[in-house]
Protein backbone atom coordinates (compact mmCIF):
# COMPACT_ATOMS: atom_id res chain seq x y z
CA UNK A 1 0.00 0.00 0.00
CA UNK A 2 2.76 2.44 0.93
CA UNK A 3 4.79 1.84 -2.24
CA UNK A 4 1.70 2.35 -4.39
CA UNK A 5 1.05 5.68 -2.72
CA UNK A 6 4.69 6.68 -3.12
CA UNK A 7 4.83 5.98 -6.85
CA UNK A 8 1.66 7.87 -7.52
CA UNK A 9 2.94 10.90 -5.60
CA UNK A 10 6.44 10.79 -7.05
CA UNK A 11 5.77 10.32 -10.69
CA UNK A 12 2.77 12.58 -11.05
CA UNK A 13 0.47 10.15 -12.75
CA UNK A 14 2.20 8.76 -15.80
CA UNK A 15 5.21 6.99 -14.36
CA UNK A 16 6.82 6.22 -17.69
CA UNK A 17 3.71 4.98 -19.44
CA UNK A 18 2.87 8.40 -20.74
CA UNK A 19 5.51 8.96 -23.38
CA UNK A 20 3.55 7.72 -26.39
CA UNK A 21 -0.13 7.35 -27.12
CA UNK A 22 0.67 3.82 -28.16
CA UNK A 23 1.54 2.62 -24.67
CA UNK A 24 -1.10 1.46 -22.23
CA UNK A 25 -0.48 1.82 -18.51
CA UNK A 26 -0.86 -1.19 -16.25
CA UNK A 27 -4.31 0.07 -15.28
CA UNK A 28 -5.28 0.20 -18.93
CA UNK A 29 -5.14 3.96 -19.39
CA UNK A 30 -3.66 5.93 -22.23
CA UNK A 31 -2.06 8.86 -20.51
CA UNK A 32 -1.20 10.88 -23.59
CA UNK A 33 -4.85 11.03 -24.50
CA UNK A 34 -5.78 12.11 -21.00
CA UNK A 35 -3.15 14.82 -21.17
CA UNK A 36 -4.57 15.88 -24.53
CA UNK A 37 -7.89 16.22 -22.76
CA UNK A 38 -6.26 18.55 -20.26
CA UNK A 39 -4.84 20.64 -23.11
CA UNK A 40 -8.31 20.80 -24.59
CA UNK A 41 -9.65 22.36 -21.42
CA UNK A 42 -6.98 25.03 -21.28
CA UNK A 43 -8.93 27.86 -22.87
CA UNK A 44 -12.13 29.82 -22.44
CA UNK A 45 -15.32 27.87 -21.87
CA UNK A 46 -17.64 26.90 -24.70
CA UNK A 47 -21.27 25.98 -24.08
CA UNK A 48 -23.91 24.37 -26.29
CA UNK A 49 -27.62 24.00 -25.61
CA UNK A 50 -30.16 22.07 -27.64
CA UNK A 51 -33.56 23.75 -27.56
CA UNK A 52 -36.96 22.78 -28.83
CA UNK A 53 -36.38 24.46 -32.18
CA UNK A 54 -32.62 24.44 -32.67
CA UNK A 55 -29.17 24.60 -31.10
CA UNK A 56 -27.32 27.56 -29.60
CA UNK A 57 -23.53 27.76 -29.11
CA UNK A 58 -21.71 30.28 -26.93
CA UNK A 59 -18.01 30.83 -26.28
CA UNK A 60 -16.16 32.86 -23.65
CA UNK A 61 -13.24 34.29 -25.62
CA UNK A 62 -10.49 35.43 -23.29
CA UNK A 63 -8.77 38.53 -24.59
CA UNK A 64 -5.06 38.16 -24.21
CA UNK A 65 -4.03 41.65 -25.15
CA UNK A 66 -5.64 45.07 -25.29
CA UNK A 67 -4.27 45.48 -28.81
CA UNK A 68 -6.28 42.59 -30.19
CA UNK A 69 -8.80 43.66 -32.81
CA UNK A 70 -12.31 42.95 -31.58
CA UNK A 71 -13.84 39.97 -33.30
CA UNK A 72 -10.66 38.80 -35.01
CA UNK A 73 -10.37 35.61 -33.05
CA UNK A 74 -13.12 33.24 -34.09
CA UNK A 75 -14.00 30.24 -32.00
CA UNK A 76 -17.22 29.23 -33.75
CA UNK A 77 -17.16 27.99 -37.33
CA UNK A 78 -19.79 26.95 -39.86
CA UNK A 79 -18.96 23.52 -41.24
CA UNK A 80 -22.03 23.04 -43.40
CA UNK A 81 -25.02 25.26 -44.12
CA UNK A 82 -26.95 23.45 -41.41
CA UNK A 83 -24.12 22.70 -38.96
CA UNK A 84 -21.62 24.62 -36.84
CA UNK A 85 -18.76 23.91 -34.50
CA UNK A 86 -17.29 25.55 -31.38
CA UNK A 87 -13.69 24.87 -30.31
CA UNK A 88 -11.59 24.88 -27.18
CA UNK A 89 -8.00 24.05 -26.40
CA UNK A 90 -5.28 24.35 -29.05
CA UNK A 91 -7.13 26.38 -31.64
CA UNK A 92 -4.81 25.45 -34.49
CA UNK A 93 -5.66 21.80 -33.93
CA UNK A 94 -9.31 22.72 -33.73
CA UNK A 95 -9.19 24.49 -37.09
CA UNK A 96 -7.91 21.30 -38.71
CA UNK A 97 -10.89 19.47 -37.29
CA UNK A 98 -13.15 22.15 -38.77
CA UNK A 99 -11.51 21.73 -42.18
CA UNK A 100 -11.92 17.99 -42.27
CA UNK A 101 -15.50 18.35 -41.03
CA UNK A 102 -16.22 20.69 -43.92
CA UNK A 103 -14.73 18.18 -46.34
CA UNK A 104 -16.88 15.37 -44.99
CA UNK A 105 -20.07 17.39 -45.26
CA UNK A 106 -19.21 18.48 -48.79
CA UNK A 107 -18.36 14.99 -49.96
CA UNK A 108 -21.58 13.61 -48.56
CA UNK A 109 -23.57 16.31 -50.33
CA UNK A 110 -21.74 15.58 -53.57
CA UNK A 111 -22.40 11.88 -53.41
CA UNK A 112 -25.89 11.65 -51.97
CA UNK A 113 -27.32 15.01 -53.01
CA UNK A 114 -28.45 15.78 -49.47
CA UNK A 115 -27.21 17.55 -46.38
CA UNK A 116 -25.32 15.22 -44.08
CA UNK A 117 -27.35 14.23 -41.00
CA UNK A 118 -25.83 15.52 -37.75
CA UNK A 119 -25.47 12.03 -36.35
CA UNK A 120 -23.43 10.85 -39.30
CA UNK A 121 -21.23 13.93 -39.34
CA UNK A 122 -20.57 13.32 -35.65
CA UNK A 123 -19.61 9.70 -36.31
CA UNK A 124 -17.26 10.61 -39.12
CA UNK A 125 -15.48 13.39 -37.30
CA UNK A 126 -15.10 11.22 -34.19
CA UNK A 127 -13.49 8.48 -36.27
CA UNK A 128 -11.16 11.07 -37.75
CA UNK A 129 -10.11 12.40 -34.36
CA UNK A 130 -9.73 8.90 -32.93
CA UNK A 131 -7.40 7.94 -35.75
CA UNK A 132 -4.77 10.26 -34.35
CA UNK A 133 -4.71 8.36 -31.09
CA UNK A 134 -3.57 5.16 -32.77
CA UNK A 135 -0.10 6.08 -33.98
CA UNK A 136 3.06 7.35 -32.37
CA UNK A 137 3.97 9.22 -35.55
CA UNK A 138 1.16 11.70 -34.94
CA UNK A 139 -0.20 13.24 -31.78
CA UNK A 140 -3.81 13.47 -30.64
CA UNK A 141 -5.69 16.70 -31.23
CA UNK A 142 -5.44 19.06 -28.28
CA UNK A 143 -8.89 20.39 -28.84
CA UNK A 144 -12.47 19.47 -27.92
CA UNK A 145 -15.30 20.43 -30.24
CA UNK A 146 -19.02 20.96 -29.88
CA UNK A 147 -20.99 20.14 -33.02
CA UNK A 148 -24.41 21.69 -33.59
CA UNK A 149 -26.65 20.58 -36.44
CA UNK A 150 -30.20 20.94 -37.66
CA UNK A 151 -31.38 18.34 -40.12
CA UNK A 152 -34.50 16.49 -41.17
CA UNK A 153 -34.78 14.73 -37.85
CA UNK A 154 -34.46 17.93 -35.84
CA UNK A 155 -31.71 19.65 -33.84
CA UNK A 156 -28.62 17.73 -32.75
CA UNK A 157 -25.83 18.63 -30.30
CA UNK A 158 -22.67 16.53 -29.99
CA UNK A 159 -19.37 16.92 -28.19
CA UNK A 160 -16.18 15.19 -29.31
CA UNK A 161 -13.16 14.87 -27.04
CA UNK A 162 -9.54 14.35 -28.14
CA UNK A 163 -9.93 10.64 -27.48
CA UNK A 164 -12.54 10.46 -30.22
CA UNK A 165 -15.34 9.66 -27.80
CA UNK A 166 -18.51 11.55 -28.57
CA UNK A 167 -22.05 11.65 -27.30
CA UNK A 168 -25.22 13.51 -28.07
CA UNK A 169 -26.26 16.06 -25.45
CA UNK A 170 -29.06 18.35 -24.41
CA UNK A 171 -26.47 20.75 -23.06
CA UNK A 172 -22.69 20.55 -22.82
CA UNK A 173 -19.75 22.65 -21.66
CA UNK A 174 -16.03 22.34 -22.44
CA UNK A 175 -13.06 24.48 -21.46
CA UNK A 176 -11.69 25.99 -18.25
CA UNK A 177 -14.85 26.37 -16.21
CA UNK A 178 -16.79 23.46 -17.59
CA UNK A 179 -17.69 21.96 -14.21
CA UNK A 180 -19.25 25.18 -12.96
CA UNK A 181 -20.99 25.68 -16.28
CA UNK A 182 -22.42 22.16 -16.23
CA UNK A 183 -23.87 22.76 -12.79
CA UNK A 184 -25.54 25.93 -14.02
CA UNK A 185 -26.83 24.23 -17.16
CA UNK A 186 -28.60 21.56 -15.13
CA UNK A 187 -31.04 24.20 -13.95
CA UNK A 188 -32.45 24.75 -17.43
CA UNK A 189 -35.68 23.14 -18.55
CA UNK A 190 -34.86 21.54 -21.87
CA UNK A 191 -38.35 20.51 -22.76
CA UNK A 192 -39.61 24.06 -23.18
CA UNK A 193 -36.61 26.31 -23.73
CA UNK A 194 -36.58 28.22 -27.02
CA UNK A 195 -33.48 29.38 -28.88
CA UNK A 196 -33.92 33.01 -27.91
CA UNK A 197 -34.23 32.07 -24.25
CA UNK A 198 -31.18 29.83 -24.55
CA UNK A 199 -29.14 32.72 -25.95
CA UNK A 200 -29.88 34.75 -22.80
CA UNK A 201 -29.26 31.82 -20.48
CA UNK A 202 -25.90 31.03 -22.03
CA UNK A 203 -24.87 34.67 -21.79
CA UNK A 204 -25.81 34.74 -18.11
CA UNK A 205 -23.88 31.54 -17.42
CA UNK A 206 -20.75 32.70 -19.18
CA UNK A 207 -20.76 36.02 -17.35
CA UNK A 208 -21.20 34.12 -14.10
CA UNK A 209 -18.41 31.62 -14.60
CA UNK A 210 -15.89 34.11 -15.91
CA UNK A 211 -13.09 34.45 -13.40
CA UNK A 212 -12.27 38.14 -13.11
CA UNK A 213 -9.17 37.50 -11.05
CA UNK A 214 -7.41 35.14 -13.40
CA UNK A 215 -8.41 36.58 -16.77
CA UNK A 216 -9.27 40.20 -17.26
CA UNK A 217 -11.44 40.81 -20.26
CA UNK A 218 -13.51 38.49 -22.35
CA UNK A 219 -15.63 38.70 -25.46
CA UNK A 220 -18.81 36.74 -25.92
CA UNK A 221 -19.41 34.90 -29.19
CA UNK A 222 -22.81 33.33 -29.83
CA UNK A 223 -24.26 31.44 -32.76
CA UNK A 224 -27.34 29.41 -33.49
CA UNK A 225 -28.95 27.09 -35.97
CA UNK A 226 -32.69 27.01 -35.48
CA UNK A 227 -36.06 27.63 -37.01
CA UNK A 228 -35.58 31.37 -36.66
CA UNK A 229 -32.41 31.22 -38.76
CA UNK A 230 -34.19 28.98 -41.29
CA UNK A 231 -32.07 25.97 -40.45
CA UNK A 232 -28.84 27.80 -41.32
CA UNK A 233 -25.93 28.07 -38.92
CA UNK A 234 -24.98 31.69 -38.35
CA UNK A 235 -23.82 34.09 -35.66
CA UNK A 236 -26.75 35.67 -33.86
CA UNK A 237 -27.88 39.13 -35.05
CA UNK A 238 -25.97 42.12 -33.72
CA UNK A 239 -28.85 43.49 -31.69
CA UNK A 240 -29.49 40.16 -30.05
CA UNK A 241 -25.80 39.92 -29.13
CA UNK A 242 -25.89 43.37 -27.57
CA UNK A 243 -28.96 42.40 -25.61
CA UNK A 244 -27.34 39.15 -24.48
CA UNK A 245 -24.31 41.04 -23.19
CA UNK A 246 -26.56 43.45 -21.33
CA UNK A 247 -28.60 40.67 -19.78
CA UNK A 248 -25.43 38.85 -18.75
CA UNK A 249 -24.00 41.91 -17.01
CA UNK A 250 -27.26 42.72 -15.27
CA UNK A 251 -27.62 39.22 -13.98
CA UNK A 252 -24.10 39.31 -12.63
CA UNK A 253 -24.72 42.55 -10.77
CA UNK A 254 -27.94 41.22 -9.32
CA UNK A 255 -26.10 38.19 -8.01
CA UNK A 256 -23.32 40.19 -6.48
CA UNK A 257 -25.65 42.04 -4.24
CA UNK A 258 -26.97 38.83 -2.89
CA UNK A 259 -30.10 38.40 -0.88
CA UNK A 260 -31.43 40.66 1.85
CA UNK A 261 -31.59 38.04 4.51
CA UNK A 262 -30.08 38.99 7.80
CA UNK A 263 -27.56 36.79 9.41
CA UNK A 264 -28.71 35.31 12.62
CA UNK A 265 -26.33 34.48 15.34
Amino acid sequence: FFSLLLTSIMAGIGAGYDLYPTTFSPEGRLFQIEYAGKAADASGTAIGVRTVDGVVLGVEKLIRSKMLVKGSEKRIFTVAPHAGMALTGLLADGRQIVNSCRDEAQQYKRFYGQAIPGKMLNQRISSYIQYFTLHDSVRPFGSSVILASYDKSGPGLYMIEPSGVSYGYRAVAIGQEKQVAKTELENLDFTTITSREAVMEIAKIIYKIHDDVKDKEFELELSWVCAESNGKHEHIPEDLLAEANKVGKQNLEADQFGSDEEMEI
Partner: protein, 351 residues
Amino acid sequence: DHEAIRRRSGARVRRASWKRRRSGEGVRVGSNGRASQGLSIDTSVEGFDKGRSRENERTNDRTIDRSGEEGDDERTRRRGRKRKGEGERGARRVESASRGLSIDTSFGGFDARTGVWSRGKGKMEAPTKMKEVLTGTTIIACTYDGGVILGADSRTSSGNYVANKVADKITKVCDKVYLCRSGSAAHTQAVAGYANLYLNQHAIELGDKGCSVKAAANIVKEIAYGNKAWMNAGMIIAGWDKKEKGKVFVVPLGGTLMDVPFAVGGSGSIYINAFVDRNWKPNMTKEECKSFVRKAVSLAISRDGSSGGVIRTVTVNEHEQVKEFVTGNEVPVYQDEIQSKGPPQVEFVSV
Protein backbone atom coordinates in the same frame (compact mmCIF):
# COMPACT_ATOMS: atom_id res chain seq x y z
CA ASP B 1 13.97 17.20 -93.17
CA HIS B 2 13.71 15.70 -89.73
CA GLU B 3 10.21 17.04 -89.03
CA ALA B 4 8.84 15.73 -92.33
CA ILE B 5 10.26 12.29 -91.65
CA ARG B 6 8.72 12.19 -88.19
CA ARG B 7 5.43 13.41 -89.50
CA ARG B 8 5.42 10.84 -92.26
CA SER B 9 6.14 8.01 -89.93
CA GLY B 10 3.35 9.16 -87.63
CA ALA B 11 5.65 9.09 -84.64
CA ARG B 12 4.35 12.34 -83.16
CA VAL B 13 0.82 11.12 -83.38
CA ARG B 14 1.85 7.93 -81.70
CA ARG B 15 3.30 9.80 -78.73
CA ALA B 16 0.13 11.78 -78.18
CA SER B 17 -1.99 8.71 -78.54
CA TRP B 18 -0.02 6.88 -75.81
CA LYS B 19 -1.63 9.30 -73.40
CA ARG B 20 -5.03 8.78 -74.91
CA ARG B 21 -4.63 5.03 -74.80
CA ARG B 22 -3.56 4.98 -71.18
CA SER B 23 -6.39 7.24 -70.19
CA GLY B 24 -8.99 5.02 -71.77
CA GLU B 25 -8.62 2.23 -69.29
CA GLY B 26 -12.13 1.32 -68.47
CA VAL B 27 -14.86 2.60 -66.22
CA ARG B 28 -13.75 4.83 -63.37
CA VAL B 29 -16.14 4.69 -60.51
CA GLY B 30 -15.56 7.04 -57.61
CA SER B 31 -16.15 5.83 -54.10
CA ASN B 32 -15.43 8.73 -51.77
CA GLY B 33 -12.68 9.81 -54.10
CA ARG B 34 -11.10 6.46 -54.70
CA ALA B 35 -11.07 5.26 -58.32
CA SER B 36 -11.38 1.61 -59.08
CA GLN B 37 -10.29 -0.32 -62.16
CA GLY B 38 -13.38 -1.34 -63.98
CA LEU B 39 -14.66 -2.91 -67.09
CA SER B 40 -13.48 -2.51 -70.60
CA ILE B 41 -16.56 -1.34 -72.34
CA ASP B 42 -17.56 -1.63 -75.92
CA THR B 43 -19.24 1.51 -77.10
CA SER B 44 -20.95 0.47 -80.29
CA VAL B 45 -24.09 2.49 -80.49
CA GLU B 46 -26.34 0.08 -82.24
CA GLY B 47 -30.08 0.03 -82.10
CA PHE B 48 -30.30 2.99 -79.82
CA ASP B 49 -29.54 5.71 -82.32
CA LYS B 50 -32.82 6.21 -84.12
CA GLY B 51 -31.13 7.62 -87.25
CA ARG B 52 -29.37 4.39 -88.14
CA SER B 53 -31.78 1.58 -88.71
CA ARG B 54 -30.93 -1.98 -89.29
CA GLU B 55 -31.36 -1.67 -93.05
CA ASN B 56 -28.41 0.68 -93.54
CA GLU B 57 -25.65 -1.89 -93.42
CA ARG B 58 -22.33 -0.50 -94.62
CA THR B 59 -19.38 -2.37 -96.02
CA ASN B 60 -15.72 -2.42 -95.14
CA ASP B 61 -14.30 -0.77 -98.25
CA ARG B 62 -12.71 2.13 -96.48
CA THR B 63 -10.19 -0.01 -94.69
CA ILE B 64 -8.35 -0.73 -97.89
CA ASP B 65 -5.19 1.31 -98.07
CA ARG B 66 -5.23 3.34 -101.23
CA SER B 67 -2.45 5.73 -100.43
CA GLY B 68 0.19 4.01 -102.52
CA GLU B 69 -1.80 3.86 -105.75
CA GLU B 70 -0.35 6.52 -108.02
CA GLY B 71 3.04 6.90 -106.52
CA ASP B 72 4.85 7.23 -103.26
CA ASP B 73 5.36 10.95 -103.01
CA GLU B 74 4.04 13.26 -100.31
CA ARG B 75 1.22 14.69 -102.43
CA THR B 76 -0.26 11.38 -103.39
CA ARG B 77 -0.02 10.15 -99.89
CA ARG B 78 -1.78 13.24 -98.61
CA ARG B 79 -4.49 12.81 -101.20
CA GLY B 80 -4.82 9.19 -100.24
CA ARG B 81 -5.10 10.11 -96.64
CA LYS B 82 -7.81 12.67 -97.37
CA ARG B 83 -9.69 10.10 -99.43
CA LYS B 84 -9.66 7.72 -96.56
CA GLY B 85 -10.94 10.39 -94.25
CA GLU B 86 -7.67 10.88 -92.48
CA GLY B 87 -6.56 14.12 -90.88
CA GLU B 88 -3.35 16.08 -91.42
CA ARG B 89 -1.40 14.42 -88.71
CA GLY B 90 -2.07 10.91 -89.91
CA ALA B 91 -4.81 9.86 -87.53
CA ARG B 92 -7.01 7.36 -89.26
CA ARG B 93 -10.65 6.82 -88.57
CA VAL B 94 -12.05 3.52 -89.68
CA GLU B 95 -15.71 2.76 -89.81
CA SER B 96 -16.22 -0.82 -88.93
CA ALA B 97 -18.98 -3.24 -89.76
CA SER B 98 -20.64 -2.54 -86.46
CA ARG B 99 -21.73 1.00 -87.19
CA GLY B 100 -20.74 3.93 -85.07
CA LEU B 101 -17.53 2.35 -83.88
CA SER B 102 -14.50 4.35 -84.95
CA ILE B 103 -11.11 2.87 -84.28
CA ASP B 104 -7.99 5.00 -84.24
CA THR B 105 -5.34 2.75 -85.76
CA SER B 106 -2.51 5.27 -85.94
CA PHE B 107 -0.87 3.54 -83.00
CA GLY B 108 -0.19 -0.15 -82.67
CA GLY B 109 -1.27 -2.44 -79.87
CA PHE B 110 -4.47 -3.01 -77.95
CA ASP B 111 -6.96 -0.21 -77.66
CA ALA B 112 -8.88 -0.83 -74.46
CA ARG B 113 -11.60 1.61 -75.40
CA THR B 114 -12.65 -0.23 -78.48
CA GLY B 115 -11.31 -3.67 -77.62
CA VAL B 116 -9.34 -3.93 -80.83
CA TRP B 117 -5.80 -4.97 -81.74
CA SER B 118 -4.16 -2.97 -84.48
CA ARG B 119 -0.78 -3.02 -86.20
CA GLY B 120 -0.48 0.71 -86.33
CA LYS B 121 -0.07 0.97 -90.06
CA GLY B 122 -3.71 1.45 -90.96
CA LYS B 123 -3.92 -1.68 -93.03
CA MET B 124 -6.00 -3.33 -90.39
CA GLU B 125 -9.46 -4.59 -91.14
CA ALA B 126 -11.96 -3.93 -88.44
CA PRO B 127 -12.95 -7.28 -87.07
CA THR B 128 -16.55 -8.31 -87.36
CA LYS B 129 -17.79 -8.71 -83.85
CA MET B 130 -20.97 -9.89 -82.36
CA LYS B 131 -23.38 -7.03 -81.94
CA GLU B 132 -23.48 -5.69 -78.44
CA VAL B 133 -26.31 -6.73 -76.21
CA LEU B 134 -28.72 -3.86 -75.73
CA THR B 135 -31.96 -3.28 -74.01
CA GLY B 136 -33.70 -1.57 -76.89
CA THR B 137 -36.50 -0.90 -74.63
CA THR B 138 -39.49 0.87 -73.31
CA ILE B 139 -39.31 1.95 -69.68
CA ILE B 140 -41.68 4.20 -67.80
CA ALA B 141 -42.21 5.38 -64.25
CA CYS B 142 -44.88 7.67 -62.84
CA THR B 143 -46.08 8.95 -59.52
CA TYR B 144 -49.59 8.49 -58.31
CA ASP B 145 -51.39 9.43 -55.15
CA GLY B 146 -49.36 7.59 -52.52
CA GLY B 147 -46.44 6.12 -54.46
CA VAL B 148 -44.91 5.30 -57.81
CA ILE B 149 -45.41 2.66 -60.48
CA LEU B 150 -42.55 1.55 -62.72
CA GLY B 151 -43.16 -0.30 -65.97
CA ALA B 152 -41.01 -1.92 -68.64
CA ASP B 153 -41.14 -4.36 -71.52
CA SER B 154 -39.00 -7.51 -71.40
CA ARG B 155 -37.01 -7.76 -74.62
CA THR B 156 -33.22 -7.73 -74.69
CA SER B 157 -31.94 -7.68 -78.25
CA SER B 158 -28.53 -8.22 -79.76
CA GLY B 159 -28.97 -6.99 -83.30
CA ASN B 160 -31.86 -9.00 -84.72
CA TYR B 161 -31.52 -11.73 -82.17
CA VAL B 162 -33.67 -11.54 -79.08
CA ALA B 163 -31.24 -12.53 -76.37
CA ASN B 164 -33.85 -12.56 -73.61
CA LYS B 165 -37.58 -12.28 -74.18
CA VAL B 166 -38.48 -12.25 -70.49
CA ALA B 167 -35.85 -9.89 -69.18
CA ASP B 168 -36.40 -7.97 -65.95
CA LYS B 169 -35.35 -4.38 -66.57
CA ILE B 170 -36.57 -3.08 -63.24
CA THR B 171 -33.81 -3.66 -60.70
CA LYS B 172 -33.98 -3.05 -56.98
CA VAL B 173 -31.08 -0.91 -55.75
CA CYS B 174 -32.26 -0.22 -52.24
CA ASP B 175 -35.27 -0.95 -50.09
CA LYS B 176 -38.21 0.74 -51.82
CA VAL B 177 -36.04 2.22 -54.61
CA TYR B 178 -35.93 0.72 -58.09
CA LEU B 179 -33.97 1.41 -61.26
CA CYS B 180 -35.34 1.00 -64.81
CA ARG B 181 -32.56 0.20 -67.25
CA SER B 182 -32.25 1.09 -70.96
CA GLY B 183 -29.29 1.19 -73.31
CA SER B 184 -26.43 -1.23 -73.04
CA ALA B 185 -27.38 -4.17 -70.81
CA ALA B 186 -23.84 -4.51 -69.50
CA HIS B 187 -23.47 -0.83 -68.62
CA THR B 188 -26.75 -0.58 -66.81
CA GLN B 189 -26.20 -3.79 -64.89
CA ALA B 190 -22.83 -2.49 -63.77
CA VAL B 191 -24.30 0.85 -62.70
CA ALA B 192 -27.11 -0.91 -60.82
CA GLY B 193 -24.52 -3.10 -59.10
CA TYR B 194 -22.46 -0.12 -57.93
CA ALA B 195 -25.55 1.82 -56.85
CA ASN B 196 -26.69 -1.19 -54.84
CA LEU B 197 -23.28 -1.45 -53.18
CA TYR B 198 -23.08 2.20 -52.14
CA LEU B 199 -26.69 2.36 -51.06
CA ASN B 200 -26.34 -0.70 -48.86
CA GLN B 201 -23.41 0.94 -47.07
CA HIS B 202 -25.37 4.16 -46.84
CA ALA B 203 -28.41 2.38 -45.39
CA ILE B 204 -26.26 0.73 -42.71
CA GLU B 205 -24.81 4.09 -41.70
CA LEU B 206 -28.18 5.78 -41.67
CA GLY B 207 -29.71 3.16 -39.42
CA ASP B 208 -33.46 2.87 -39.36
CA LYS B 209 -34.06 5.88 -41.53
CA GLY B 210 -33.79 4.15 -44.89
CA CYS B 211 -32.38 5.41 -48.17
CA SER B 212 -33.98 8.33 -49.89
CA VAL B 213 -34.77 8.17 -53.60
CA LYS B 214 -32.81 11.39 -54.07
CA ALA B 215 -29.65 9.81 -52.66
CA ALA B 216 -30.00 6.79 -54.94
CA ALA B 217 -30.58 9.00 -57.97
CA ASN B 218 -27.58 11.14 -57.08
CA ILE B 219 -25.27 8.13 -56.90
CA VAL B 220 -26.49 6.89 -60.29
CA LYS B 221 -25.93 10.34 -61.71
CA GLU B 222 -22.38 10.56 -60.34
CA ILE B 223 -21.49 7.26 -61.98
CA ALA B 224 -23.19 8.16 -65.25
CA TYR B 225 -21.65 11.62 -65.47
CA GLY B 226 -18.23 10.56 -64.30
CA ASN B 227 -17.97 7.92 -67.01
CA LYS B 228 -19.99 9.61 -69.70
CA ALA B 229 -17.46 9.04 -72.46
CA TRP B 230 -17.70 5.29 -72.14
CA MET B 231 -21.28 4.75 -71.17
CA ASN B 232 -24.49 4.14 -73.04
CA ALA B 233 -27.15 4.01 -70.38
CA GLY B 234 -30.44 5.79 -69.81
CA MET B 235 -31.97 5.11 -66.45
CA ILE B 236 -35.06 5.97 -64.47
CA ILE B 237 -34.85 5.83 -60.68
CA ALA B 238 -38.16 5.70 -58.84
CA GLY B 239 -39.26 4.75 -55.38
CA TRP B 240 -40.81 5.76 -52.11
CA ASP B 241 -39.19 7.28 -49.03
CA LYS B 242 -40.63 8.61 -45.83
CA LYS B 243 -39.76 12.27 -46.33
CA GLU B 244 -40.69 12.92 -49.94
CA LYS B 245 -43.12 10.01 -50.55
CA GLY B 246 -43.23 8.84 -54.20
CA LYS B 247 -40.48 10.26 -56.40
CA VAL B 248 -39.24 9.75 -59.97
CA PHE B 249 -35.80 10.82 -61.20
CA VAL B 250 -34.43 10.30 -64.69
CA VAL B 251 -30.75 10.07 -65.68
CA PRO B 252 -30.53 10.04 -69.48
CA LEU B 253 -27.41 9.69 -71.63
CA GLY B 254 -24.76 12.16 -70.55
CA GLY B 255 -25.59 12.06 -66.87
CA THR B 256 -28.13 14.82 -66.20
CA LEU B 257 -30.32 14.35 -63.16
CA MET B 258 -33.92 15.45 -63.43
CA ASP B 259 -36.67 15.35 -60.84
CA VAL B 260 -39.91 14.70 -62.73
CA PRO B 261 -43.43 13.49 -61.92
CA PHE B 262 -43.26 10.86 -64.68
CA ALA B 263 -40.66 9.68 -67.19
CA VAL B 264 -40.32 7.40 -70.21
CA GLY B 265 -37.09 6.03 -71.61
CA GLY B 266 -35.59 3.62 -74.13
CA SER B 267 -35.97 3.26 -77.85
CA GLY B 268 -39.72 2.69 -77.62
CA SER B 269 -40.29 5.82 -75.59
CA ILE B 270 -40.33 8.09 -78.63
CA TYR B 271 -43.57 6.50 -79.80
CA ILE B 272 -45.39 7.16 -76.58
CA ASN B 273 -44.04 10.57 -75.53
CA ALA B 274 -47.13 12.39 -76.79
CA PHE B 275 -49.48 9.80 -75.36
CA VAL B 276 -47.90 10.00 -71.92
CA ASP B 277 -47.69 13.80 -71.94
CA ARG B 278 -51.37 14.03 -72.79
CA ASN B 279 -52.76 11.35 -70.51
CA TRP B 280 -50.79 11.56 -67.28
CA LYS B 281 -52.57 13.42 -64.54
CA PRO B 282 -51.40 14.08 -61.01
CA ASN B 283 -52.90 12.14 -58.07
CA MET B 284 -54.25 9.17 -60.01
CA THR B 285 -55.31 6.13 -58.05
CA LYS B 286 -53.14 3.04 -58.02
CA GLU B 287 -55.37 1.12 -60.45
CA GLU B 288 -55.67 4.05 -62.84
CA CYS B 289 -51.91 4.50 -62.85
CA LYS B 290 -51.20 0.81 -63.38
CA SER B 291 -53.50 0.58 -66.39
CA PHE B 292 -52.01 3.84 -67.73
CA VAL B 293 -48.50 2.40 -67.46
CA ARG B 294 -49.52 -0.87 -69.10
CA LYS B 295 -51.31 0.89 -71.92
CA ALA B 296 -48.29 3.10 -72.59
CA VAL B 297 -45.88 0.17 -72.73
CA SER B 298 -48.19 -1.85 -74.95
CA LEU B 299 -48.44 1.05 -77.41
CA ALA B 300 -44.68 1.29 -77.56
CA ILE B 301 -44.32 -2.47 -78.00
CA SER B 302 -46.69 -2.39 -80.92
CA ARG B 303 -44.53 0.12 -82.81
CA ASP B 304 -40.95 -0.49 -81.63
CA GLY B 305 -39.16 -3.59 -82.88
CA SER B 306 -36.75 -3.62 -79.95
CA SER B 307 -39.51 -3.78 -77.37
CA GLY B 308 -41.71 -6.74 -76.67
CA GLY B 309 -42.37 -9.71 -74.47
CA VAL B 310 -44.26 -9.23 -71.25
CA ILE B 311 -45.15 -5.96 -69.55
CA ARG B 312 -43.58 -5.83 -66.08
CA THR B 313 -44.77 -3.40 -63.44
CA VAL B 314 -43.53 -2.63 -59.94
CA THR B 315 -45.76 -0.75 -57.51
CA VAL B 316 -44.01 0.99 -54.61
CA ASN B 317 -45.82 2.77 -51.83
CA GLU B 318 -45.70 3.09 -48.06
CA HIS B 319 -47.03 -0.41 -47.40
CA GLU B 320 -45.89 -2.59 -50.27
CA GLN B 321 -43.53 -3.28 -53.15
CA VAL B 322 -45.35 -5.48 -55.66
CA LYS B 323 -43.85 -6.96 -58.82
CA GLU B 324 -46.32 -8.07 -61.46
CA PHE B 325 -46.37 -8.81 -65.15
CA VAL B 326 -48.86 -9.10 -67.97
CA THR B 327 -48.19 -12.24 -70.02
CA GLY B 328 -47.40 -11.89 -73.71
CA ASN B 329 -50.72 -13.13 -74.96
CA GLU B 330 -52.61 -10.71 -72.73
CA VAL B 331 -50.68 -7.64 -73.89
CA PRO B 332 -53.20 -5.43 -75.70
CA VAL B 333 -52.71 -5.21 -79.48
CA TYR B 334 -53.62 -2.42 -81.86
CA GLN B 335 -54.74 -2.07 -85.46
CA ASP B 336 -54.12 -5.20 -87.51
CA GLU B 337 -52.10 -7.14 -84.98
CA ILE B 338 -53.41 -10.53 -84.13
CA GLN B 339 -53.95 -11.28 -80.48
CA SER B 340 -52.51 -14.57 -79.37
CA LYS B 341 -55.04 -17.01 -77.99
CA GLY B 342 -52.66 -18.48 -75.50
CA PRO B 343 -49.79 -20.90 -75.42
CA PRO B 344 -49.84 -23.27 -78.35
CA GLN B 345 -51.17 -26.81 -77.84
CA VAL B 346 -48.32 -29.00 -78.96
CA GLU B 347 -48.12 -32.72 -78.72
CA PHE B 348 -44.69 -34.11 -78.17
CA VAL B 349 -44.22 -37.44 -79.82
CA SER B 350 -41.75 -39.68 -78.06
CA VAL B 351 -39.21 -41.16 -80.40
